[in-house]
């Protein structure tokens, strides 16, 4: 028995050597995964040379949940954190203290997905909004040297996560020797987006020029920025910021085009509609758009109303200005709006924020107008100026967070105020855009455009020059305006963006090396037992013994 043990050991070591050789041979990775999920990467950008966001895209590590045993080495593991278990201080600690980590995967509730969530109600809306806003703020302003991805929960991922949690609870984080789940995202290194373009679309409705009047008619501008920015650019649909503004602008354009189509009802003001891009980047697009104007046109602008987030307010809207409230023009605008607001049973407040020319930060779109000495104001539900990359359509800004009724009321307010100014009905109680009239605000139009916008991510560097959505906006504006122009510009040089915004994650269930070695042991012993059994049954036990004692028996023979 001792000799048979030795020979079996010899066979074993032979097997192990061959096995090791095979391990060294490079093997092709095949994609038959336990689960495959669409994932969306955290944005990666440089601002004035400083890197921000997640700097890597490819992933090939083991998975762990947030219940990993303390003190475990996580530099080659990916933490999967569902939103409902998110502990912001824990994540902040990890990121700010630059602790080594293989990757982060955040699981968002399925209701937030614009592909599958539909219009279901979001449970605990406000809490989730706050949590997501905080998470986004943390991630967007940090430099993270490992991949960070977002995914939506579904049954497959939930079962995988439950399994991982069970393994972690037993104190076995997944590594190469203990099996578990492996997350693989096979993408290339993210590359810079070469010369990102911002596209401004403007529509012009000419007013009625009296015969013999050589002077240029005054112009009123209505502007809204249509692009978004968020932690996950492939998910930044910005329904409220600024989908509500775009929809309101289109509806106002439609109403006034109806009025202006008949010369009898055409006002003596030109209307300029502007859909600008580059909003999150200090309204860079608006600045370039305004600079491209003819001096005379710029001087003819009476005032400009900028729309920013008018989709989720209850009873109060704010008009933000940069000129002091005592200014005659500002007073006129504000009174016009207040009168209409009173009739519509809502409140309008005035907020004044001085511009600091030396500060490059532009918080409101009207500030770009004010810097070129054009009277302008921003109508918004926000009472405080947003910080950089805040309120630009993030993770929580989906269809569920926007209210059609609010937009309809906002459109009524703006349209009535504009009409009273254009047709000189200030102070008179005339309702031009009454419900049930031919000029009523069309809820179906607003709803359909809002739905479309809530399914279209619109981060400017990832919108090409001839992006179908931009073309659709242009076509829609062309339906309402006399003349439409499209202006392509390059985004300001201090921002650089990197591509690879979405990918497909493969989750593999892998067996550990110990399992394979065990299996090898079992198979080796099985084959040996089979061998001995066959020798015994066909040739007899003596043959078996003689196999292992050949040298001595030969010696006996020769002797």
């Amino acid at each position: 028995m001792a000799t048979s043990k030795k020979s079996s050991e010899l066979l074993e070591s032979m097997y192990s050597v061959i096995a090791l050789l095979f391990i060294l041979v490079a093997c092709v990775e095949l994609c038959d995964a336990a689960a495959a999920v669409d994932v969306y990467r955290l944005i990666q950008y440089d601002m004035s040379g400083s890197p921000f966001g997640s700097r890597f895209a490819a992933l090939n590590h083991h998975a762990a949940s947030s219940r990993f045993p303390p003190g475990a080495d996580l530099s080659r593991t990916v933490l999967i954190i569902p939103l409902r278990e998110l502990n912001i201080t824990f994540v902040r600690e990890y990121i700010t203290q630059k602790k080594p980590l293989g990757g982060l995967l955040f699981l968002l509730p399925e209701v937030l997905s614009f592909k599958h969530g539909g219009n279901k109600q979001v449970p605990e809306k406000e809490k989730m909004k706050k949590l997501l806003a905080e998470l986004e703020r943390l991630l967007v302003h940090s430099n993270i040297p490992y991949p960070v991805y977002f995914a939506f929960e579904n049954d497959e991922i939930d079962t995988v996560l439950a399994d991982i949690k069970k393994n972690d609870a037993m104190g076995q984080p997944a590594t190469a020797t203990t099996g578990g789940y492996k997350l693989v995202i096979p993408t290339a290194e993210p590359k810079k987006v070469a010369s990102p373009t911002i596209t401004n679309i403007q529509g012009w409705l000419s007013g009625l020029k009296a015969d013999g009047d050589a002077n240029q008619l005054p112009t009123i501008a209505i502007v809204a920025s249509y692009d978004t920015f968020g932690a996950a650019p492939a998910l930044s649909v910005g329904s409220d910021s600024n989908g509500s503004g775009i929809v309101a602008l289109l509806e106002i354009a439609r109403l006034f085009s109806l009025l202006y189509s008949n010369p009898k009802t055409r006002g003596r003001y030109n209307l300029l509609f502007g859909l600008t891009s580059g909003g999150p980047y200090n309204y860079n697009g608006t600045q370039k758009w305004l600079r491209s104007f003819d001096q005379r046109l710029r001087e003819s602008i009476d005032y400009a109303i900028c729309l920013n987030s008018i989709g989720s307010w209850d009873n109060e809207l704010w008009i933000h200005v940069s000129k002091p409230p005592e200014n005659a023009y500002i007073k006129q605008i504000f009174e016009g709006f207040s009168n209409v607001a009173e009739e519509l049973d809502l409140k309008v407040g005035l907020k004044h924020k001085k511009i600091n020319i030396s500060n490059p930060r532009v918080a409101w779109e009207h500030e770009q107008f004010s810097r070129l000495r054009v009277t302008a104001a921003t109508l918004s539900e926000l009472s405080v100026a947003p910080e950089l990359f805040e309120g630009t359509g993030g993770l929580f800004d989906g269809r569920q967070y926007v209210n059609e009724t609010a937009i309809i009321r906002g459109v009524k307010l703006i349209a009535e105020s504009l009409a009273r100014h254009i047709y000189g009905h200030q102070g008179k109680n005339v309702q031009l855009f009454a419900d049930e009239s031919s000029l009523a605000v069309n809820p179906a139009y607003i709803r359909s455009w809002l739905d479309l916008l809530s399914q279209t991510p619109r981060v400017a560097p990832f919108l090409s020059k001839n992006d179908p959505f931009v073309m659709a906006l242009k076509k829609e504006l062309a339906d309402h305006a006399d003349e439409v122009n499209v202006q392509h510009e390059n985004l300001e040089g201090i921002f650089t963006f990197y591509d690879s915004t979405s990918a497909r994650l493969n989750i593999h269930q892998v067996a550990s090396v110990t399992f394979d070695l065990l299996l090898l042991l079992v198979l080796g012993s099985y084959l040996i037992v089979l061998f001995c059994f066959l020798v015994i049954t066909t040739r007899g036990v003596d043959e078996l013994i003689s196999l292992f004692r050949r040298p001595p028996s030969r010696k006996v023979k020769t002797a």
Partner: protein
């Protein structure tokens, strides 16, 4: 690591054939030629079966058990038996005893079957990152198939090569041969008609192969007694 798994499954699937050859007296009598010829006959049979299946069988949309189709498949499966008959009787073997002839033919047959049916899925599937038990089960199935092939070859040699058999045993021999020959249909019925899972089916195959091997061994030794 995944090559490791492939290696494990490969030795499970093909190891027993090599072990059988080296352990039994087959290696001493150098019956490798016979085995290779049997393997080639199996290839030819497989081609003929393929052509017949392609001509006569309709592809069903659902994975249910269609009796008519299964009957057709069983009939085509008898081509297997014809091929085995050809290998046992028509091929000129060197002067090896009948005892070893059927073993060599059965071994060659089973080896060709394993290579044809199991090598490609193993190479493509077992090297991936994802771990499934399928390939280990497939290896066990290959083992069961080896035992079944050798039993079938034994019964076949009894039917066609041995002239003087005890009269009482003949119907039993034919019955057992019939059961072993229709094993593929039986397993497919179990999988599709009754909805058994793969591990259960493989367990059933292993069990029946051992039972049939035992029965054919008894029959063979019973038939051998009169002649000695």
């Amino acid at each position: 690591m995944t090559m490791f798994h492939f290696f494990n499954c490969a030795i499970l699937t093909f190891g027993p054939h090599a072990v059988y050859y080296s352990a039994t007296p087959l290696s001493e009598y150098d019956t490798l030629g016979t085995s290779i010829k049997a393997a080639l006959v199996y290839l030819g049979t497989a081609l003929v079966k393929l052509v017949c299946l392609a001509t006569f069988l309709q592809v069903s949309e659902n994975d249910g058990f269609d009796p008519y189709q299964e009957l057709l498949k069983a009939l085509i499966g008898f081509i297997d038996v014809a091929g085995l008959y050809f290998a046992l009787t028509q091929l000129t073997h060197r002067n090896i005893s009948q005892n070893h002839k059927f073993q060599a033919v059965g071994l060659g047959w089973a080896f060709a079957d394993s290579v044809l049916h199991r090598l490609a899925p193993l190479w493509v599937g077992a090297r991936g990152l994802e771990f499934t038990w399928d390939y280990i089960l497939q290896g066990l199935e290959a083992n069961a198939n080896l035992v079944l092939s050798i039993s079938l070859a034994a019964l076949g040699s009894l039917i066609w090569l041995r002239k003087n058999k005890p009269k009482t045993l003949i119907p039993i021999i034919y019955a057992c041969a019939g059961i072993v020959a229709t094993m593929p249909s039986i397993t497919s019925y179990l999988r599709r008609g009754l909805g058994w899972h793969f591990p259960k089916v493989v367990g059933f195959e292993l069990f029946t192969s051992l039972v049939m091997a035992f029965i054919s061994w008894q029959l063979f030794s019973a038939c051998q007694r009169p002649s000695t």
